[in-house]
């Protein structure tokens, strides 16, 4: 049509009777979020342009107005309450003073970042047959240009105009009637929107697909379980590959130097019984490196071969350029649900280092290629086997952080967790307390764990050695993520409903706020008009904090 990008060409101006308005034809191109801006989002720390800040997923904010010295003065600026009884797992995006978040399951909301007042709500009703394993949740949006992208719990991918909240297109990624769903934030690479399908606790076959950002047309699709004749298919006995799970349900990463995208994959299905799927079950519980243009697999690393303990590897891949054993390495840092922490070379997939970061009893070392060595008998048995860590993990999906200033990896997880796995049955808690490692909930709950039962921590790890630098200990476990900032602050929260700030160098508690609901999200930071804000979702609400400003 006759629009002039970037201008306001009006062919017949006399037809507009009202003179006081200078209405321009779309000026969108000027203010849109280009892929270049997303890649280099660290250069505009006032904004938060993707799930964990940049495609490297470091969840590090370059803002430094809030410091260890003044953080104790943080004040609540506003709360936005969702009309939802679901967990609030979304990390908001911040674009030039506008926040975009999701009201679970799949309503998109645009808020003024200074006041929390809504500009618009895009309401979406998922199909009635949509099923999710662990809550009708959404972890976040992506933006490119002036368009927001959201995966839905009925496994659609939607494009929504970021200015007006109007639906632009709606594509089916997979069928919700076949138990596929989407809960993760999409990954933008150049002109593509890349997203994966959840549902791997049921009989699905996990997928990652790329769509044209403009039209929603599918460009490629990668199956996380190889089909007949493809390498890796032989790691599944019989036809188990067809319904072997390996869902993808957390944010991916992108490395522009190699044009590779990285996604963690979920457990093989059925979760706790591997008797019908003999073999390593590739590429379940793995990280897959996929060429962004072609969708072809470049490399993979499997964290937990032939998993019978529900150790999804759907943690957020964290990419960092670090000095490792005396030379620079393009690394990938990974704190896995299976209790092991890893440093991988993200260009080749080479295993550089791995070690337990919590009590682990199912493996006792790695071979030269980084394959874990199983401890005999630590599998589901008729009488039940005690396994550490718990099936919910040492950590689960909550996004960790890497600070390029300290060079440390910050992870919220839990210690001393264990479970008993019995052949053919769902795992049960170890010991008398069935509530050691319960799932995240919306509201606060009473809590009874003793010292020997699972507890939550935020820890700093040195990627050189994967040794712990410090620990901040909570009573209850945590499903909250971690943010670091350029002033060496660490923000996190947990099931107890506290949102807190720690010293990134020492782990000392510097500030806390009781939010009255469980923190099930990763914090993020942005600034508007020179004022830094830190947000986190807790309960069913989004909270924004800042230092005291002028009284309005």
């Amino acid at each position: 049509m006759r629009t002039t990008p970037g201008g306001s060409k009006r062919t017949r101006p006399t037809l507009i009777a009202v003179g006081f308005l200078a209405i321009g034809v779309s000026l969108a191109a000027q203010g849109g979020v280009t892929f270049d801006r997303i890649l280099h989002a660290d250069k505009e720390p006032q904004n938060w342009l993707s799930y964990s800040g940049t495609p490297l997923n470091q969840r590090y904010s370059g803002l430094a107005q809030i410091t260890p010295a003044n953080v104790k003065n943080l004040q609540l600026q506003w709360i936005w309450q969702a009309r939802s009884l679901e967990k609030f797992e979304t990390t908001a995006l911040a674009v030039n003073g506008v926040l975009y978040t999701v009201q679970a399951p799949n309503d998109v909301v645009a808020l003024d970042a200074e006041t929390g007042r809504p500009y618009w709500t895009f309401a979406y009703s998922p199909a009635a047959d949509a099923r999710t394993c662990c809550g009708r949740v959404n972890r976040g949006l992506a933006i490119l240009g002036d368009t927001l992208y959201m995966g839905t719990i009925d496994a659609h991918l939607l494009a929504i105009d970021a200015k007006s909240g109007e639906l632009l297109w709606n594509t089916t990624v997979a069928k919700s009637s076949e138990r596929y769903s989407i809960t993760m934030s999409p990954l933008i690479v150049k002109d593509k929107v890349i997203i994966g399908t959840a549902g791997g606790d049921g009989p699905i076959r996990g997928q990652i697909a790329a769509f044209d950002a403009k039209t929603g047309k599918e460009l490629w699709r990668f199956f996380t379980i190889p089909g007949t004749g493809e390498p890796g298919n032989e790691t599944w006995s019989g036809n188990s590959w067809m319904t072997g799970g390996a869902g993808v349900w957390n944010a991916g990463a992108y490395d522009p130097e190699t044009n590779l995208t990285f996604f963690g994959t979920g457990n093989p299905a059925p979760d706790w019984d591997g008797r019908g799927r003999v073999g390593d079950n590739l590429y379940s519980d793995s990280v897959v490196a996929i060429d962004a243009d072609t969708g072809k697999l470049k490399w993979h690393y499997q964290f937990t071969p032939h998993d019978e303990l529900d150790y999804d590897s759907t943690q957020v891949p964290v990419l960092a350029d670090i000095q490792f054993r005396g030379r620079p390495r393009k690394a990938m840092l990974w704190a896995n649900r299976n209790g092991l922490m890893y440093v991988l070379d993200r260009t080749t997939g080479e295993f550089l280092l791995g070690r337990p970061y919590v009590k682990v009893n199912w493996m006792d070392g790695f071979d030269a290629k980084g394959r874990p060595q199983r401890v005999e008998g630590k599998v589901p048995t008729k009488e039940g086997t005690l396994i550490q860590p718990h099936v919910h993990g040492a950590t689960n999906w909550a996004p960790p952080s890497f600070s390029p200033r300290t060079g440390w990896f910050y992870v919220a997880h839990w210690e001393n967790s264990a479970t008993v796995v019995t052949e053919g049955l769902s795992p049960r808690p170890a010991g008398a307390n069935p509530r050691q490692t319960t799932m995240g909930q919306v509201n606060l709950q009473t809590f009874f764990n003793n010292e020997d039962e699972a507890y939550g921590v935020v820890r700093a790890y040195d990627p050189q050695t994967l040794e712990r630098k410090w620990e901040y200990r909570m009573s209850d476990i945590t499903w909250g993520g971690v943010l670091t900032t350029a002033s060496d602050l660490v923000f996190s929260g947990g099931k107890e409903g506290y949102f807190f700030a720690l010293d990134a160098k020492s782990g000392s508690l510097l500030w806390k706020a009781a939010l009255g609901g469980q923190v099930n999200s990763g914090p993020m930071s942005y600034s508007v008009n020179g004022r830094q804000y830190v947000t986190v979702a807790a309960g069913s609400s989004l909270f924004a904090f800042a230092l005291p400003g002028e009284t309005r």
Binding site: R12, L15, F20, L21, I23, S26, A110, R117, Y119, N170
Partner: protein, 275 residues
């Protein structure tokens, strides 16, 4: 349904205490008058919000099969209250929620309250203006929309055009032909609350106009004429208030035939949703 009816009435009684006495009296009187005719009339105390929400839900859920006017299935004209057999509000609510077995009418996951709002909307349309008789050409209408009418300078269709006015990509699902014609010839006659125009003058003297998206005691949210989402604190403003719609009347710009053509084009816009 019985339980549900009781629940609805209880809900009313409870909330009635917190409402104004006047409303309670009016509604109670209405209940008494109509209790013989319709066993339970959910829509009897609907608010404008209920009707608007019901209309939105109708357009999102029902209009795909029933059409924007509710008359695209033979023997059924929802907008005129014509069904294949007599229907009470309770019957309609049950059908909206549970569907009709062995027919294409599916069950939904709506609550009773949501279904009741759709019924409220349908009842309200029975009394409203009917579809205009239009015999236009949508292809010619599209040319007029883009050319002589210069509609893209304010409106957007499938991602093309300005966002300042209402997005028209799905307008054929949302509005009837008669309503669209009215908007073209007498745009000020009925402006949807979500499309109202607003004007602020800052203390530094800048005047900003745009579509009002939200406002409260302290702040105003607008999409300004550059299509930016803006928030203003009222303390920072010298003036602020509603402004007349910038939509011109096309009464003298378009001939009757041209108007019919543009309306035809607008009616043909059903959105880009696909699956």
């Amino acid at each position: 349904m019985q339980n549900a009816e009781v629940r609805m009435q209880k809900a009313y009684v409870v909330s009635g205490f917190s409402r104004t006495v006047a409303i309670a009296v009016v509604v109670s009187a209405f209940c008494i008058l109509h209790s013989e005719l319709r066993p339970v009339v959910y829509a009897q105390h609907e608010t404008a919000f209920d009707v608007e929400e019901g209309g939105r839900a109708f357009r999102n859920t029902c209009a795909n099969c029933h059409g924007p006017d509710g008359n695209e299935i033979a023997g059924i004209d929802l907008g005129r209250g014509q069904f294949r057999r007599p229907m009470t509000d309770a019957d309609l609510i049950a059908i909206i929620r549970k569907g009709i077995p062995n027919t294409p009418m599916p069950a939904t996951n709506m609550t009773e309250e949501q279904a009741a709002r759709i019924v409220a909307y349908l009842r309200s349309t029975a009394a409203s203006k009917r579809t205009a008789s239009v015999s236009g050409d949508a292809v010619r209408g599209k040319s007029l929309y883009e050319g002589k009418g210069n509609c893209t300078s304010c409106h957007r269709v499938n991602g093309v055009g300005s966002r300042l006015g209402p997005d028209l990509s799905r307008i054929g699902q949302l509005r009837r032909a008669g309503e669209l014609e009215t908007s073209l010839v007498d745009p000020g006659a009925e402006v949807q609350p979500t499309n109202r125009f607003y004007r602020v003058v800052t203390k530094s003297g800048a005047t900003i106009t745009g579509r009002l998206l939200n406002h409260d005691t302290f702040t105003v949210q607008m999409m300004d004429s550059k299509e930016e989402l803006r928030t203003f604190r009222k303390d920072d403003l010298k003036e602020h208030g509603f402004a007349p719609t910038p939509m011109p009347s096309y009464k003298s710009t378009f001939s009757q035939q041209e108007l019919a053509d543009v309306v035809s084009y607008l009616v043909s816009l059903k959105g880009t949703t696909r699956s």
